[in-house]
């Protein structure tokens, strides 16, 4: 019986999501795609901060690098979308080594400060590489076309949905395998993890690389969705928004990443829609503080009151 119920919920959710282009207007479809993009970044950040408990503020670095790599490959070298996105993901992974290896020995406070430094430095670099990135003016991003056909918003929504779904499934599997348990072990105690033979430094590097890959791919899709990017992507606000999704949604939970992304993206967009642009940031600043104080396990802990959600989670 529970199995049927669970499948039923999956079915309903799938139909609701797949049918989105038919009942959402253009603007809301854009928001839906944006939410998918940020779900990816949120999930990547959750692997690093929620599962492995490393507080890194470098998310914006990977996100921005992914966006710029995709845009530059597509516009300057005429690479098509999918290879460009994949290369952007690997650019993120390469960058994650630059971030992770020097900071491996650092704990807590120091890691947060050092990764904050990377965000500032990457924005300076993006500004100074004017010939590639267009400097502080930013650059346009070409439209995605597949087999010579350029994609409209609906096409982009489905493509994003497919990419995000595949990567999320891969990520969930990753957290259930040896690596996932090692992430949790390192979170519990690095020393204890080492003493039972878990190579903690390697696990940390992997966690960083996973976050970087997910954030970079999210950045790449974000670029082609918004069609314009500039160095302000390398902003501490972007990093904070990733972390706030994880916190508001629920640390170390897949469903939490999704809830967090929905909250952090949809709330500000709705506020903009109602003409309240000014208070976007403080809304999720406030949501972050309130959820840390009163809902330490995130929005996902609310769903535990409803049995069926709990079944979906497991």
């Amino acid at each position: 019986m529970p199995q049927i119920k669970k499948n039923f919920i999956y079915l309903i959710a799938t139909i609701i999501i797949l049918a989105m282009p038919f009942y959402l207007g253009e603007y809301f479809l854009y928001i839906a795609t944006l939410t998918l993009v940020f779900t990816l970044a949120s999930f990547g950040t959750n692997i690093l901060s929620g599962y492995t408990n490393l507080l890194s503020l470098a998310g914006a670095t990977f996100f921005g690098a992914g966006a710029f790599a995709t845009a530059i490959l597509m516009s300057r070298y005429e690479v098509s979308f999918f290879p460009a996105l994949l290369l952007a993901g690997f650019t993120g992974v390469a960058l994650s080594l630059v971030v992770a290896i020097p900071t491996l020995r650092l704990e807590h406070v120091y890691l947060a400060i050092a990764t904050l430094g990377y965000v500032f430095i990457s924005s300076e670099i993006a500004k100074s590489l004017e010939s590639l990135t267009g400097g502080s003016m930013g650059m346009g991003v070409p439209q995605v076309s597949i087999m010579g056909q350029s994609l409209d918003e609906i096409g982009l929504f489905y493509i994003t949905l497919v990419i995000v779904t595949l990567l999320m499934i891969a990520g969930v599997n990753l957290t259930h395998c040896r690596f996932g348990r090692a992430f949790f072990a390192v979170k519990g105690s690095e020393f204890a993890a080492r003493s039972i033979g878990i190579p903690a430094p390697k696990i940390k590097i992997i966690a960083f690389a996973v976050q970087a890959f997910y954030c970079a791919v999210a950045g790449g899709i974000y670029g082609v969705l918004v069609r314009f990017i500039d160095p302000s992507l390398f902003s501490i606000f972007v990093s904070i928004s990733f972390l706030s999704m994880v916190i508001i949604g629920g640390l170390g939970s897949v469903l939490g990443s999704i809830f967090g992304a929905i909250f952090v993206i949809v709330t500000p967009q709705l506020l903009t829609y109602f003409g309240l642009t000014e208070i976007q940031r403080s809304i999720y600043g406030l949501a972050m503080i309130l959820s840390l104080m009163f809902l330490p396990n995130g929005l996902v802990s609310l769903t535990e009151k409803f049995k069926f959600f709990k079944q979906v989670e497991h």
Binding site: L55, Y110, I113
Partner: protein
């Protein structure tokens, strides 16, 4: 050269003051206050508004410091007190949340324009040989030196200062000795915010006052705090000065782009070679 070194010291000392606030709070409560820069920004804007009402400069300064004390106290009581001892991820994120909120508050109240901010020191230069200096260069240095001496004496001589040090060293022992630990936590936030307000009053005349003006300085201050050791009060000041001088010299002799990157590079170097900082003694981590 000498001139650049002195202006480097001046700038570095101010950044050191910002770092001092961060270190003070971290040392006392174990919380890394990402919102420190935004708190500086808010107090400086309050000073600007007070000056806008036509108050004389020094009266405005005193009122600003009073406001800073109340501000620091209320942040501590409302937000921080519940979080002492909580994992770093929670405390840091609460501070980041505060960072976002304060940024928006500043935009609501004071808008997005950049403002000029008056300086108490004249910028009329006087010269020693080839070097020409103005009170505007030297003033911040003097203020920082006086403040450092004041803080040093406070921690060494006054009963409250010693009680605070005891709290920082060992909370449980301090509590057993009858020190009101919670009040000490509040006091450290008050002290940090007041120092921050002074730093803001010194920085704002040099660069324009704007709702984002502290963000690059915060980066600088974190670098200074790491350089000096995140648990060393004097280290924060010295780290700030060293960083200010190096950055200024690099800006002249090497390239201005490298100047922007300098705090980060120095910080990374220190973190790789000596993560506990230059002036901090920290015990090995116990399991």
């Amino acid at each position: 050269m000498v001139q650049m070194i002195i202006s480097g010291i001046a700038l570095g000392a101010i950044y050191g003051l910002v770092a001092l606030g961060i270190v003070l709070v971290h040392k006392a409560t174990g919380i890394l206050n990402f919102a420190h820069g935004e708190m500086v920004m808010i107090t400086t804007f309050v000073a600007l508004s007070l000056l806008g009402f036509g108050l004389p400069y020094w009266l405005a300064v005193i009122l600003t410091l009073v406001f800073a004390a109340i501000f620091g106290f209320s942040v501590e009581t409302v937000l921080v007190r519940k979080l002492i001892g909580a994992p770093l991820l929670s405390t840091a994120l609460v501070c980041l949340g505060l960072f976002l909120i304060l940024g928006d508050v500043a935009v609501w109240i004071w808008g997005k324009d950049a403002h000029m901010f008056p300086s108490p020191f004249s910028d009329k230069p006087f010269s020693f040989g080839q070097v020409s200096l103005s009170p505007a260069d030297l003033g911040p240095i003097v203020v920082c030196i006086l403040l450092s001496i004041g803080l040093y004496l406070f921690f060494k001589l006054t009963k409250v200062g010693i009680a605070m040090q005891a709290t920082i060293d060992n909370q449980t022992a301090a509590k057993l000795m009858g020190i009101p630990v919670k009040r000490m936590f509040a006091l450290s936030w008050v002290l940090a915010t007041v120092v921050a307000a002074i730093a803001g009053l010194l920085i704002a005349p040099i660069i324009f006052l704007h709702f984002t003006f502290m963000q690059s300085i915060l980066h600088f201050a974190f670098a200074a705090a790491v350089l000096g050791g995140i648990n060393s009060l004097s280290g924060a000041m010295i780290g700030g000065v060293i960083l200010g001088v190096i950055t200024n010299l690099v800006g002249i002799y090497l390239s201005s782009e490298l100047k922007e990157a300098m705090p980060f590079l120095i910080m990374l170097l220190i973190l790789i070679c000596k993560p506990q900082g230059l002036f901090s003694r920290e015990a090995e981590k116990k399991v």
